[in-house]
């Protein structure tokens, strides 16, 4: 496969192609934009006027959204032709714009309706009447949508009970757990499905429909660091106009005014996450925080982490989650490194909902500690756990690394002792689900099918790599230091609390 892969931007079939000028280049166009000295296809998502001239918010083809950026005119190659947005798409846009003006907010915010339509990048531009060139799923879905719309119209005409839309009914049908689980991974979410799923499962992640495509906060002062957010986060709307916002390192309160921030710091007495410490070694501490009891803090944490997690949603409140926060300690207090959230009761057996290491601590092995801790908790609970999907690219890599290292260690141990090895054995040893074990084995090309028999092969490369990483790796979670009992929530607290 070529590194660029298939075009993900503007891939809904043929488009009008032609030259554009600074004046005619509009939102939705796909132009060649210089990124790191290389011209790349990029969709223009927004345009703004600054003192230094017009700037375009570009999403680069096959690059993660976190690399989206505002580019000046000079970086756009006007010699190359531009792909124009499709006409009916334009119409929609105009419609939305009409609505948008009434909202009278800063122009770079995506319109409300827009965010629905752009749930997936391919789909964002796909006109609904055209069949999708690639995927049957998309096609089916669009058909479904169309049918649903027709049904809805019919029911409206007949004057039937307007309360039950066909969409809702469809959701009910889809809700059989097995098929739903399958579908989840395969089909893009419909908006209704998405919300229904959020409501019933208590999930916090994956709401692609809601994701606002343009990041709103450009800069965050956080403790000793300045962070540059990757994604949109629903801080108060006016914060989008600030050059920088300030976030208190301990209570995570947010300010758009440096004086307010200073005043707050003057008063704030918190110097660690507001919960019970459940783990401490020389290096890090873990705190357990109940989303219901510490609503403000957990909301603040979610807002902060949303800036670095694409598939996190803040659609519903934090009550049904527990937050396990990893901190590092110095004389000022316990500084937030990262956290993972966990449903108080997960119907799907997830042991992690969202997981994040703050950017200033990334690539230092902290993510691995977080992951390990999540599995240690699962071991104490006596359950097999898995992170909630979808994973982000970084999340996938972290998990793959953790899984592969642990599985290789275990296999080597099994090999030495000549113990029989089963997928289930590995899973229960590491508190991982059997699917995760199998996926990892396959991803590492360790599981082979040979002469009618499944076998596991440990490639030398991986062993060598593991030796190397073990030499480098200094820190591990010491399970004996965990002072934790799985929290129990009464039926009433579950019924009434969320």
């Amino acid at each position: 496969m070529s590194p660029t892969g298939e075009a993900a931007v503007g891939s809904d079939g043929p488009r009008l192609i032609g030259k554009a000028t600074v004046e005619t280049l509009t939102i939705g166009c796909i132009a060649q934009v210089i990124k790191d000295g290389e011209a790349r296809r990029a969709e223009i998502l927004s345009i703004k006027e600054t003192k230094s001239g017009r700037q375009y918010y570009c999403n680069f083809d096959n690059f993660n959204k976190r690399l989206d950026e505002w580019v000046p005119v000079s970086r756009i190659d006007f010699d190359k032709p531009v792909e124009w947005p499709n006409p009916d798409k334009d119409k929609q846009k105009d419609d939305k714009k009409g609505k948008k003006t009434t909202a009278a907010v800063s122009k770079k915010q995506p319109s409300k309706k827009n965010s629905r339509r752009v749930s997936k990048r391919e789909q964002s531009i796909a006109s609904e009447d055209q069949t999708h060139p690639w995927s049957e799923f998309v096609e089916n879905q669009q058909k479904n949508k169309k049918d649903a719309r027709e049904k809805a119209n019919a029911s409206l005409e007949i004057g039937a009970t307007a309360g039950i839309g066909p969409d809702e009914m469809e959701i009910d049908e889809d809700e059989t757990p097995a098929s739903a689980a399958k579908k989840e991974s395969l089909t893009p979410f419909s908006r209704e499905q998405e919300i229904e799923k959020l409501r019933t499962s208590g999930s916090m992640t994956q709401n692609p429909a809601e994701i606002s495509r343009i990041r709103n906060i450009s800069k965050v002062e956080f403790g000793r660091y300045v962070l540059f957010p990757w994604y949109f986060s629903p801080y108060p709307e006016v914060y989008g106009q600030e050059d920088s916002i300030y976030i208190c390192e301990f209570c995570l309160s947010y300010f758009n005014d440096i004086k307010s921030f200073a005043r707050h710091r003057h008063k704030c007495t918190l110097h660690h996450p507001p919960g019970n410490e459940i783990y401490r070694d020389d290096f890090v501490s873990f705190f357990e925080i109940d989303g219901r009891r510490q609503r403000t803090w957990c909301r603040n944490l979610c807002l902060l982490s949303k800036m670095f997690l694409d598939h996190k949603t803040l659609y519903y409140d934090v009550d049904p989650f527990l937050f396990y926060v990893m901190t590092t300690r110095d004389e000022k207090g316990c500084h937030l490194i990262g956290y993972f959230s966990k449903e108080k009761e997960s119907t799907d057996g997830y042991n992690v909902a969202c997981i994040l290491t703050l950017p200033q601590y990334q690539r230092k092995g902290y993510g691995r500690l977080l992951i390990q801790f999540s599995y240690e908790l699962s071991k104490i609970e006596g359950k097999l756990g898995s992170p909630e999907k979808p994973l982000s690219d970084l999340g996938l890599l972290s998990y793959r690394q953790y899984w592969s290292e642990n599985i290789i260690d275990l296999l080597l141990k099994f090999g030495e002792r000549d113990e029989p090895c089963t997928i289930e054995g590995i899973a229960s040893h590491l508190a991982m689900t059997t699917q995760d074990v199998e996926h990892t084995l396959q991803a590492l090309k360790m599981q082979v099918y040979h002469k009618g028999e499944h076998k596991i092969v440990i490639p030398e490369k991986l062993v060598a790599q593991r030796e190397k990483s073990r030499a480098k790796q200094k820190r591990l979670i010491d399970p004996d230091r965990i002072q934790w009992k799985p929290p129990v929530f009464t039926a009433s607290s579950r019924t009434w609390a969320w």
Binding site: M1, P3, G5, A8, N62, N64, K112, R199, Q206, P208, S212, Y225, V226, F228, P234, P236, C251, N256, D257, K259, S260, H264, K267, T269, H272, P274, G275, E277, F287, Q294, C302, L314, Y316, D317, E331, K332, L358, P359, R363, P387, L391, S392, D393, L396, L397, C421, T422, E424, T434, V437, H439, Q442, L444, V448, H450, I456, V457, E460, K461, T495
Partner: protein, 578 residues
Amino acid sequence: MATRKVRYKKLNPKTVLPIFREDQIDPSEYESLTNEAQIATGVEQAEENEYHLQAVLKSAGVAADQEIPVPPPQESTLNYDEFYSQKVSKTATYIRFSQTVEECIGCMYDMTEEDVVFLQSYNQKQAAQAQLSEDDFEKIMEVYEETAYIKTPFASIDQTVAGYDEMFQGLQELEKAKALMPHAKEIYEYWKSRRQALGNTPLHPTLKFETHAESDDMDPYVCFRRREVRQTRKTRARDVQSADKLKRLRKELEEGRQLVQAAHSRELLKAEMLKTDRAIFELRAQLKEQKIRLNIKADDEDLINQKKRKAAEAPTVQRPAPPAQLRMPGRPDVRPAETDLSLLADRLAEKENELRLDIEKKVQNHKDWNRNYLDLTRGPLSPVHGPRLDPNFRPAKTQYLMTPPASASSVSLDEPVPMDLDKPENLEPVVKFRGVAQDEASRANPPSYRRRIGRLNRLWIDRRGLPASPPREIDDEWTGRLLQDRWKYDQSSDDEDDMPTYEVDPFDTRALKFRSSIPPPPWLLHRGIPNPRALPPNQQQLHQQHPIPPHQLPPHTQAQLPVAKSPVKPTTGTGALA
């Protein structure tokens, strides 16, 4: 999401997988085996093909240096120690903490730079002593914001502004209300103008929470919606249950309250008593002094503590029985210990008495209950009384001539009463001739016979109801032994009360005739028949009763007589064949 092609049999997670090192397997073979299709990653489908991710995934196991680029963080230019000035020391134990953010922040209002400008200009107008500090300014602003939030929740929509008079109560509750009141009005005006400038919204930007379901749904800024509360099913039974629970709880709490109240009044009384005691003591002391002073020497009785009187009084006090469900075991008891002790002994005796009475009563009850009942279950196989016998059996009725059996009567005194072992008190001199259906038992159970055709056309006569009387006394040793031997198995255990008796009139001509037609058994012929006349009369009679050697009879109620093929027609009782 790409799933791998199902080309081979599915892998059961329970199957044991052999583990190989790479060198243990043929490399070329391994290569060909491993180029499988893509594996599910769990990453959003649209992002799975992202350039950087694919690059890293491709290089997995090759080079660890591949990384996904992210916008890098920077060191802050702000002076960290200025903003984070507090230092904390490490706690020895794990931190336990439950305060919320709000509780840790203190005043919720934080001054903005605009406020600073205002405050400076405001303070310039004030006298040096009446300067308003930033903290106080924030406190006043907090009151305004909070009151506005409560009183005018829809301020941003209906543009109502909470009036100054509405703020008054909140201001009064401030710690330094008096000192701050002079500033309040002017700050209120400033606050109002700021609010107006922001479209009557809170001065601190807030998150957008849900307001209207329709419009909110697509708004990416609306966050942290409430989840729909799951309704518990309401039933009347559950209502009643919870009502009961509440009532019980209330009752228990009320009891507890009364207990506490009682304890309280008791303690008050005690205090009172102590006071009185003290007063008495003081008065006595005075008295003593007076006595010494006035030199009175007699009658010191008053000076002695009269505790004894109190003790004497105590036993007469009738204490009500303590309530049964009192939970407090250590309740103060004034009663002397002895009374309790003696009572305990009494009570034990009483209880025992009661128990005994109870048992006796029960025994009596049981007897009453069993009166007029016969326990038939004792004899496991008691014969059915009544006329309904086996249909094929006909009762053999006999009639007697009035000839008194004089010779027999003299000996019948010695004759054992055959089957009344269970009722020895019924031993009355029997004057009747045994073997006739005269007594009650035989009348109730008359001898009967049955004729039936057996295999090979044999004719059988079945008898039943004949009295069988075991011999008690044997005179002749040999016959005794013989008889004993014969009767050995014809007799069931002693306690069997309803031994069937076969009663036959030995002098009945037909019977005699019948008996004479029976050929003697071979063993009799062989051994020689013991002379019946040599037997004592009772034995003789017995023998006559059982013309067939008893050991040939089955030891049960029914005896079978094989009759030879000759069509001998035995006639049994007189009316038997009618």
